[in-house]
């Protein structure tokens, strides 16, 4: 039962190597938990991913402009 979460832990740790990727991942995790009661099983992961990645790109642009 824990095979999937264990593999996700491993993949996430190996994939996220920079600060930006880390905070986007954390944001996506929080958003997924917040959106789950509203969206249910389907769509939560996708919505959280889209919002978090978009905010990540936007913050990078703001930082570059500043």
């Amino acid at each position: 039962e824990f095979a999937l979460p264990a593999s996700l832990v491993c993949l996430l740790f190996l994939l996220v190597r920079d600060r930006e990727g880390l905070w986007v991942a954390c944001l996506a995790a929080v958003l997924a938990l917040v959106l789950r009661p509203m969206l249910g099983n389907s769509g939560t992961t996708m919505a959280a991913t889209v919002v978090a990645a978009t905010l990540g790109v936007m913050s990078r642009r703001w930082r570059l402009r500043a």
């Binding site: 824990f2 593999s7 996430l12």
Partner: protein
């Protein structure tokens, strides 16, 4: 025969879904913002999936000491941090989970 056609149809559909974007996008230069966005997506997807699989039980948020999934993630995280070995991480995680299930019920 019906099943064979169904399998072939599904195979064709899956191939088209995967091959078409690759074919169309291979000749294009993607804008920098889109490449940056695509680079962030895998980590976000994994984190969103992981958070739900660790913290949501029967459609309820369960951030407690009785959540075996959450507790078993700690040794898995330590193992991947120290070894970067996926198989070992999974084995340790599953072993910890089995032990916790026994102790916590």
């Amino acid at each position: 025969m019906e099943i064979t056609r169904l399998i072939l149809g599904l195979a064709l559909g899956t191939w088209l879904i995967r091959a078409l974007p690759l074919t169309i996008l291979s000749g294009m230069a993607l804008p920098a913002w889109l490449r940056a966005w695509l680079r962030l997506v895998p980590g976000a997807v994994l984190a969103a999936s992981l958070a739900q699989s660790l913290l949501v039980r029967e459609d309820r948020l369960l951030p407690s000491w009785h959540n075996s999934y959450l507790l078993a993630a700690a040794p898995a995280l330590v193992v991947v941090w120290r070894t970067s070995n996926m198989l070992l991480t999974m084995l340790v995680g599953m072993g910890a989970f089995a032990l916790l299930q026994r102790w916590l019920g």
